[in-house]
């Protein structure tokens, strides 16, 4: 029954065409832009681009897990701002604290915020989009309250903290290293643990997941908590990178996160999404942001182009999916 010889390639074709499509797109756009502005393909610029993408790519992992369960976490952007503000205030008051401690502080505080959102969604049974929309405003409001409306500025932060973003390890910015670590940890979590598997099960069929005994409420809570941990981590990174903690940090950024996920092939209806895809989606958005100004496309056009690119990518994906399904149906009919 099982013909092993053909298996890997067929599966790659089915599962990986989205990723392959994005890779082709990334290579094409890089070549085109590189041809018009050679500076684009220099190591320095590519590194800057990755640096800009690092935080987005981490946030996209958390968002992907939530999307895979069929939810959405709109509170990510203000959760990030709140953790960032708290981190800024803490480091201002205690400049001697180590950057590593600050990162764990972000992880912990973010987990708490995410866990709270998760409780509302999982046990309170509030629709994710409504629950997280509310929490988006709540966390943003708390950011203003605790800061009294004031910023934490660069001169109020110790150098050791800012070096988290400027320092390098093996030629890569620390932020990129952190992002890679996050991807490594989540790769194992998503693909090699039963909990990771159960997240996909909940997203692809909630009813069936419940029937086989998966604690669907816990899984739902867990993905918001993980999303929280990651936006908490990102909040600290963000403040270090821009050397300021502001009240309106990352306002509107949640849509960029969702866009990165969608570009990477995550299904808004749940059940589908891959870590690799999300990484590519984030990088693509990073390229669009970085490259368009280099070929002197007006920033006014940038957003519109970003929207068009997402739309085209998704539409192409639909067309390919349909033709793959047609081919499968034909094959099935031949078998019968």
């Amino acid at each position: 029954m099982v013909s092993r010889s053909s298996s890997p390639t067929v599966v790659l074709r089915l599962r990986g065409f989205r990723e392959l499509g994005i890779i082709i797109f990334i290579v094409l756009i890089s070549l085109v832009i590189g041809a018009r502005n050679p500076r684009f393909l220099t190591w320095g610029n590519l590194h800057d681009m990755l640096l800009d993408t690092a935080i987005l790519s981490i946030l996209a992992v958390g968002m992907m897990l939530v999307l895979v369960t069929g939810g959405i976490d709109l509170s990510a952007e203000s959760g990030l701002a709140l953790t960032g503000m708290v981190a800024g205030m803490v480091i201002k008051a205690h400049p001697h604290l180590s950057p590593l401690f600050m990162l764990f502080l972000g992880l912990g505080l973010g987990s708490l915020l995410g866990a709270l959102t998760g409780v509302i969604v999982a046990w309170g049974r509030v629709l994710p989009i409504i629950a997280t929309l509310s929490m988006m405003y709540v966390y943003r409001g708390i950011t203003f309250i605790i800061s009294g409306g004031k910023w934490i500025n660069a001169y109020e932060m110790p150098d050791s903290f800012k070096e988290m973003a400027t320092g390098r390890l093996l030629g890569f910015s620390n932020l990129i290293t952190i992002a890679l670590l996050v991807y490594l940890v989540f790769y194992y979590f998503i693909y090699h643990t039963r909990t990771g598997r159960e997240i996909y099960a909940v997203g692809s069929n909630l009813e069936a997941a419940r029937i086989i005994g998966i604690d669907t409420t816990f899984i739902t809570w867990l993905v918001y908590t993980l999303s929280g941990a990651l936006y908490g981590l990102s909040g600290v990174m963000w403040v270090a990178r821009y050397a300021s903690a502001q009240n309106d940090t990352a306002t509107g950024f949640v849509m960029t996160i969702v866009a990165a996920c969608v570009l990477g092939g995550v299904s808004i209806t749940g059940g589908v999404g891959s870590l690799f895809g999300v990484l590519l989606g984030s990088v693509t958005i990073g390229i669009i942001n970085n490259a368009l100004p280099m070929v002197r496309i007006s920033p006014f056009w940038k957003m519109a182009l970003q929207g068009i690119i997402i739309l085209v990518a998704v539409m192409v994906n639909i067309l390919i999916t349909q033709s793959v399904e047609r081919a499968q149906r034909r094959r099935r009919n031949e078998e019968i």
Binding site: S3, V10, V11, R194, R197, A201, S204, R210, I214, R332
Partner: protein, 522 residues
């Protein structure tokens, strides 16, 4: 049995001018012949009952009359003229309307909006909707049915009986000449049923032709003028109701040769695995008590809607019972969720595999092993080799046709998808299995394989509670058979004493309808 397919004398009906005639209608679905050269006719002013077991083809026939399906063979005559009901809109233009057991109305819209959906009253010039006129008309229609429902009430807030009323009013609003009622009394109380009979009689007197589908012999002998029996997609015959007794009707419904062989091996039942006592869930089932022993397959029979699935779902914790006790291996257990059930060694194969059984985007392997992650990942880390070993073994055991175990389940054919659900349950190695229609929709080969596996599992000492609508399957596979009727157990038979007739008699509860007749006459 008197066979008189074309009665000359019929109470009140206009037999000279038949309104609808189906000639030699056949309908094929992949692998199934749902209808096989069925003839059917209908006169204005008669109530024509359509009866048959689950899967006899009643619904398919109705869908052909309402234009949902197109027949593959045969022709439809409307008032003697050949017609094609290309879609439901065409059928409604011929003034054909249908009312279902659970009305398919729009719960958020008002009574008036539901009644006039699809054919609103519109101002001829300005094209605006004439709401006051529609409210007035809706009120009139409802009043003619003896109902004082408000035309602006929101349908979702009404009772099932009231929603049916709205559907009937909708039928009247298109001046329906043919009204199809699909098990309209199944969800009604006795009182509401009487009211419905009154409306049906009134419509009949006004010359409406009514097709009435019901499992309940009470309904059939109360309201029918003629009855047509379908069995396995064929029409067994049409009789005037006064000419056919209950026993003959039952025989017409089941009279089928049992040709398939079922391999349930004789096993001496071991210790008791599961016992339920006086299990009740308000509105669904009452006082259900039975036991299941190791090595036994207990068949749960009864018509669709008799509460079989609800009992299974209560034992499995999907919709827990309100009252009663469940014992597993002699110990009383509390089952409030599927997780509780699984911890007590109970597994469930849902009837609705599409919505309750499969994870479509995930691979075949992932689907098969998702319920046994405890084995595959004892410490939380998945072990792909073990996963693939289990999945490959199941693929071969059930002969699932798939290129590899890594393909998504969504790429499989329907029959193979069902086998994956069965594989998932078998992989879980539980002591007590509840299987709701285990072989529904799978091909003959897969069916035999699944039956063989069920028999083997029983031999290994598992207990299986099997719900099935297929008589041969129930009779062939079960050591004992419980029959349900309207939420209660109406009969229990050992393998030796069960026959198709006895099971159907218990399923339609002839005794109870007979008692009722006596009550009415006395």
């Amino acid at each position: 049995m008197d066979r008189d397919p074309c009665p000359r004398v019929l109470y009140g009906a206009d037999v000279e001018n038949g309104i609808l005639e189906l000639r030699g209608i056949s309908k094929f679905f992949p692998g199934v012949r749902a209808l096989n050269r069925v003839d059917f006719d209908l006169y204005p002013g008669e109530v024509h009952c359509l009866v048959g077991e689950n899967g006899a083809g009643k619904s398919t026939l109705i869908k052909i009359i309402t234009g949902v399906y197109q027949p593959d063979e045969g022709e439809i005559l409307y008032q003697g003229q050949k017609v094609v009901f290309a879609n439901p809109m065409v059928a409604s233009r011929y003034q054909i309307a249908a009312v279902y057991q659970q009305p398919a109305s729009f719960p958020h819209l008002t009574v008036t909006e539901n009644i006039f959906l699809g054919h609103p009253l519109i101002h001829p010039k300005s094209k605006r909707l004439l709401w006051p006129a529609m409210w007035e008309r809706a009120r009139e229609l409802l009043r003619s049915l003896g109902s004082d429902l408000s035309p602006t009430a929101v349908v979702g807030t009404l009772s099932v009986a009231q929603q049916q009323m709205v559907e009937i009013a909708k039928a009247l609003s298109i001046h329906a000449r043919i009204l199809i009622m699909d098990e309209p009394t199944a969800a009604l109380t006795r009182r509401e049923t009487e009211d419905l009979y009154a409306i049906v009689r009134k419509l009949r007197a006004q010359g409406t032709a009514i097709i009435f589908i019901s499992h309940r012999f009470e309904d059939i002998y109360e309201i029918a003028d003629r009855v047509t029996v379908l069995r396995d997609g064929k029409s067994v015959g049409t009789w005037k109701i006064v000419e056919i007794g209950e026993q003959d009707l039952i025989r017409a419904m089941v009279g089928r040769e049992i040709t398939q062989l079922f391999p349930k091996a004789q096993v001496t039942p071991g210790k008791e695995l599961l016992r339920v006592e006086k299990l009740s869930r308000i509105g669904f089932f009452r006082d259900i008590s039975f036991s299941l022993r190791a090595g036994e397959i207990v068949g749960l029979s009864g018509l669709v809607g008799s509460g079989r699935t609800e009992v299974a779902q209560a034992i499995f914790g999907i919709a827990p019972a309100d009252e009663g006790k469940i014992f597993v291996e002699g110990k009383e257990v509390t089952i409030k969720s599927p997780l509780d059930a699984i911890r007590n060694g109970i597994g469930y194969l849902p009837e609705d595999r599409l919505h309750q059984g499969l994870f479509f985007p995930m691979s075949i392997s992932d689907n098969i092993t998702i319920a046994i992650l405890d084995d595959i990942a004892p410490s939380g880390w998945l072990q792909p080799e073990r996963e693939h070993e289990v999945a490959s073994r199941m693929l071969e055991l059930l002969k699932i046709k798939a290129p590899t175990i890594f393909h998504p389940v969504s790429s499989l054919s329907g029959g193979n998808q069902q086998k994956v659900v069965v594989a998932k349950l078998l992989a879980a190695r539980l002591r007590i299995l509840i299987m709701d229609e285990p072989t529904q929709g799978v091909d003959v080969g897969a069916k035999a394989a699944i039956h063989q596996i069920m028999s083997d599992l029983a031999k290994e000492g598992l207990g299986i509670l099997m719900i099935s609508s297929e008589m041969p399957e129930i009779l062939g596979m079960s050591d004992r058979i419980l029959v349900m009727h309207e939420g209660r157990i109406s009969g229990e038979f050992s393998r030796g004493e069960a026959t198709q007739e006895k099971l159907l008699e218990a399923a339609v509860n002839v005794e109870r309808s007979r008692k009722r007749e006596v009550n009415i006459s006395g």
